[in-house]
Every structure is written in structure tokens, then in C-alpha cells.
Amino acid sequence: MFIQQIKKSLAIFAFLTLAITGAFAQSSEVNLGMVLEPPHLDPTAGAAAAIDEIVYANIFEGLTRIDENGAVLSSLASSWDISNDNLNYTFYLRDNVTFHDGTKFDAKDVVFSFERAMADDSVNAQKGIFAVIEEVRAIDAKTLAIQLKRPAGDFLFNIGRGDAIIVSRNNFENNKTHPIGTGPFKFISWNKGSRVVLEAYENYTGEPVSLKKAVFTFISDPNTAIAAMLAGDIDGFPIFPAPEAMDVFANDNRFNVIIGTTEGETILATNNKRAPFDNLLVRQAIAHTIDRKAIIDGAMFGYGTPIGSHFAPHNPYYVDKVNTYPLDLEKAKVLLAEAGYPEGFKATLKLPPPSYARRGGQIIASQLRQVGIELELINIEWAQWLEEVFSKKDYDLSIVSHVEPFDIGIYANPDYYFQFDNEDFRAIMSQLGNTTDDGGRRALSYYAQDFLARHAVNGYLFQLAKTGVYNADLQGMWANAPIEGNDLSQMKWTK
């Protein structure tokens, strides 16, 4: 931590002392920076976001795809019909689609891909999204029928996610190291530890793309990332690792800073089964003490949107619950006294590596100290977090961003690490799962958000922002990240 701070101040000093100039070369090639390298490149066999950030919509396509605002678009399925009971879907597949190995794509590949994801030995990280499927059947080479067990309002969205992409039934074993898909870009090479190279697929029959080549370079050090952008070695960082550096780029007309939203609800995760957090009064007191703006300004340099429940503000069903327990220290002290802690208490706060957690933790600790809650900050790595906090539930408080889209359902699982065990909430969620009409889903979503806010299950802090930095001449990037991915298909150089 200390060394990082020294590094940071030295870096800032360096930028102040050296004036910056640079030249850019333009072409049909783009070089994007990523902080993390994926463990492999098969999105149907891993949860790592970095996999989808390279392959989604570029190498692999699904029946549908998601656009930057979370809307469902056609992809391998050019159109579809839905029966009146919302149980039977008929998909009409795009013409003349081939895999990158030259073989033809047809409905049997879809059947194979879905059955593989649903199988008992499936290693799909989001196996749950296939649970509603009763049967997948190829009617002919270009027509596909899917029957559901029950109506599912989010089905078309879910099959547009990276975990539901279609693989070749004849050539799928090597997707981890040499992915073969139907997308506009084909895999060329992967220098481990360094970069992945894609090139435009010459036989692609969907919307034509402008780029000929795309390189994803892995740069984990934020200071190096700044230098690589300034030198023009990297054309863009879809998620720039250092929000504190955004001003450097925002004030420089060679760069385009794009701030959007993600699906990451950042929360003060609370162990609802451990005293004193099993007491609603204590959780309410904490909610009254948290100053979201101070946390967003201090930890994220102003990038982030306050949230009052476990729901993304850009979601059409979002309702603002930020003021359920407004900032009120006196009220918090009264609530703590009522709960039997007039002098406050001591607790631990376990912090995983991301800066939202480490920096946010310090700010929250100082805020809670105002009402007598003394937090001991414990820095841990992700592997430790998974073991201690997530698996063993050995924690009081933690700070984590939950990045799955529409993941409010985790509160219906009493064994989930928040340990929120509430019969009423489980009923709301099961009702939501069976509702497909828009009005009904909206009303239930509103109710669920309000429920979680009132029960102050966790401290709801802010929605993680997507802080992208690009060369000013590059266009067609996603501002938001409704799902993980860096869709290259619309990207192009204007000069």
C-alpha cells in the first residue's frame, strides 16, 4: 500500500515535470489495452470477465446479442417467433454463416452448444441461464425450436450473453487456446502474458466491419497504462485502471474519455447472521451513517452513481432508493443505542484488492467511527476473499462490486454469503421468475428493490462506472457495459 502510494506520487511528479507530445498512426488496426489477461479464451468454460472482453461478439456469436444499452439484437438468429403462452420460441438462422475453420454453421451447432451447456458435466459458469430450457430441437438446417419449462422474461437477453455463444459441434475442443467461432473476427495468435491478435474474418456475412486487425494488450500497471496511452502505443482502454488519471486525458484533445455505467453494484457486504449485524437497527444505523458522495469522490474520483438498493440505475426497472435512510448521524446514534450499543462496537472490514474496496474501506471506516463503530481494516487477496468471506462466511463487513446483470436473485439464497434468510423475499423472487408481462415485472422489481433497501441487507454504495479512454479519432466504442465485452464490430477510425 505504502509502496503503491510512493509509486503514485512519483508518477504524478513525473507527468508534471515532462511536457507531453506524441504522434499517432492511423490505420485499420486497433490496439486496445486490458488490465487482466484471461486464463483461456472459452467463454462457455469460465467466469473470468477478461474472456468475454476479447471474444464476445468478436470471435463468438450467440443467437441474440446485447447492445451497449442492454437491448437485445438479432445475431445468429436473424428473427424469431414466440408462442402466445411464452413457452415456445422459433429462431430463424442467418444465411450462409461459416465458422472460422471454413465449415458451415447450421441449427445442429446450436442444439449441440446448448445441450453441452446444460449437460451434467457442463463447466459453464452460468449454467443457471439454461435451466429454463425444456428442449432444443433443429427443425431444419436454418430453423430452431426451443421449448421452455416456464415463461422467462429475460430468456432472449440471457441467450445473448457470452456464456451462451454457439460453438462448432465439430471443432470445439481447442476453444480455450484457439477459439473457432462465427464472428466478424477470427483468432490469430495469443502470446501468453503479452497480447491476443484478431483479424477480420473474410467470409463473414453479417454487418461488414471496418477494422482489419485488432490487438488486445495486457497492461496491469496503471502508470504504464498512462504512458502507453500518451505514447500512442495503445489506442484505447475500455476500462482504464486508474480513475485518478482521467483528468490527464480529459484535458487533452488527442483523447476521448467515455464514461458509462456497468452492472457492478458496489456494496458494503454485511454478514446478516453475525451479531450485531443480525440486528436491523444496527444495519439501519450504518445506512444512516454512509455518505455515498464522499465515498465516490474519495475512492473513485467522482466516477460512479449512488445506489440505494441492489439494482443498476440504467436498468428500465430501476427505482431510486438512495434516500431510504438519508445521511443522519444523530439518528444513527439513537438507533445504535436502541439496539443496545450506545457506545458503538468494534468490527472487521475485509477488503479485496480493487481500489474501490481498499480506498472505499478507509473512507467508510472514518465515517462509521463518527457513530462509535470502530472498524479494523484487513486487506486480503481475491483467493482469500473467496475462501474466507464467500465460502466460509467468516467476516463482519466487506466491500465488493457484484457485476452480474440483474442479480437481485442472490438475496433469495439464504446460503449466499450475506446470509440474508427471508421467506418474504424468496416469494417475491419466485413470483418475478414466473412473470413475463412488462407491467408485472416492473412492479415486482420495484417492490424487491424497496424491500432490500428497507431491510438494509447490505450497505448500498454506488454503481461502478465504466471509465474508457480512447484515441480521439476512434469511434464506435461501447460507453456502457451491460454485459462484459468489447464489441469491435462498430469500431472505426475517422482519420
Partner: protein
Amino acid sequence: MAGFLFRRVFGFALTLFIAALAIFLLLDILPGDPARFILGINASPESVNALREQMGLNLPIWQRFFSWIGGVMVGDFGISHSQATPVLELIKERLVVSFPLAIFAMIISIMLGLPIGIFAARRRGKISDSLFMTLAQIGVAIPSFWFGMLLVLLFSVKLGWLPTGGFISWQDDFFAGLKSLILPSFALALPQAAILARVMRTALVDVSSADYIRTAQAKGLTKGQAILRHGVQNAMLPVLTILGLQFAFLIAGTIIIENVFYLPGLGKLIFTAISERDLILVRGALIVLIMAVTFTMLITDLLYALIDPRLRSRTRQ
């Protein structure tokens, strides 16, 4: 000489064994279950346990240690959990970056450090001596990653001569690969060159008042000639010790430098493997590093004996 050799080689083997044991134990008590890390937060306890069983994590610790060390001795380092590739293959892939990097840095630090040390010693007390030694003092104090960033800002961002980092593989473009190692090797080498210069200067200053230098001068050599012909060889002894140690520092330094310059080297591999709890990969990579360092020490010891005949004769008695 044979006894000397035997003792050194035995010490080498013993060091390796103790180091291997330490690595194994330390990594074993590290919190964080590798199986849970691989399967993520949605996996069931049953499948996590099945994977633990598959990975052999449920066996007793001594059994795991001996099966690992037994494998290492015959060149079988096991299979990386996270990348599903043999560990040795991954290490080899990365060594082609890290090893040249450390060697280049070594060469640069010798080519800069020694001449500056000799120069400063000959100008002892003059302004140029103080100037170089002040620079060396600063060089010692500057951490290599910070110096690396300064180099990047000047040569990549401002002048645009060299890439900010990354690595083009040797097969793809040999000269581009070479080019991408220039800045990192300099960043790694400069602090070491500064140390070397100071050691060289001190050693030379020490020997320059020795009797044999005065004798050489009496026989008609100038002071400078005497130092170059007789002094430097004697001054090499402490310098060589430092060089041996420095190689270890260089190898350790690559971990930080490779992150700053996003080079796909061994250091980066270890860094990622630790955070992903790919223990078998961490162990394999660390043991290779330790072998490299202890082997360098061994070579240094043997060179020592070559330069200093007294060492050889002493062991003969």
C-alpha cells in the same frame, strides 16, 4: 581443488533442497483454496471437493512434497491448474524473455559501472570523482521501476523512439524483440551499475596504497599503469562477490520491471500465478529462479578460486 569443488557443489544441492522445502511449506499455508478460485463463486462444495481430489490437494502434506520434489528432479514440474499446460513449458516460454533481460542488464551494469568506478578511483578527490560518486549515490537510491517510468516518459512518450513496453516474440521479429528489451534492461541495470561503480572505486582505492603498487611504480610504471595492470585484478575480488549477488537482485528485479513494461517474462508469470493460487506453477517458477541464483553463486565461488590462487592452495592443505 577437488575438495573445494565437492564442498561447493554439496552446498549448492543442500541450499536447493532447503529452499524447495521452504517454498513448499510457505505456499501450503497461504490462505485461499485453489479449487474454489478456479471454479468461481457459483460452484457447489461437491464440485470444489472433486477438483481438490483431482488436484491431489487432499493428500497429506509430506506425500505431496515428495511427489513434487521427485517430479522436479526428473524434470516433471507438473501441470498448471489455471492454464492447463505443463509448468515447464510455461516457464521455458517466459525464460526467453527474462533470461536475456537479466543478461542484458548485467552486461550494461558492468559496462557502465566498472569503467566509472576505475575512472573515479584514478581521479580520487577531484571534482569529476565527486560528481560521479554523487550520481552513483543517486543511482543507488532510485528504485528501478521509477527509473523505468522516467525512461518511458522520455524515450517513448516524449521522443517516441522506443515502445512503452510489451514484447514482440523473437520468432515474429528478432529486432523488434531486442528493441522492446532496451528500456527495461537499462532500468534494471542502472541502480546495479551505480552499486558496482562504488564498489569498484572503493576496492581500487584500497589496493592503490598496497605495497605491490608502490613496488610496480618503483620499477618504472606510472601510478595509472600500475593500477590498471596490478590493481584492477586484485580489486576484482570484492567486485565479483557483488556481481554474484547482483545477478540475484536482477532476477528478482525482473518481477517488478516486467510489470512496469508489461513484458511476458517469468516475473509476470509468478505474479499472476500467485494471485490465481496456481501453486504448482508458483513452486515450479520459484525453484527455477532459485536454481539460477544458487548456480550463479556457485559459479562466482569457482571464479573466485580462479582469480585468487590462495583459495585453491588453502583447500589443498
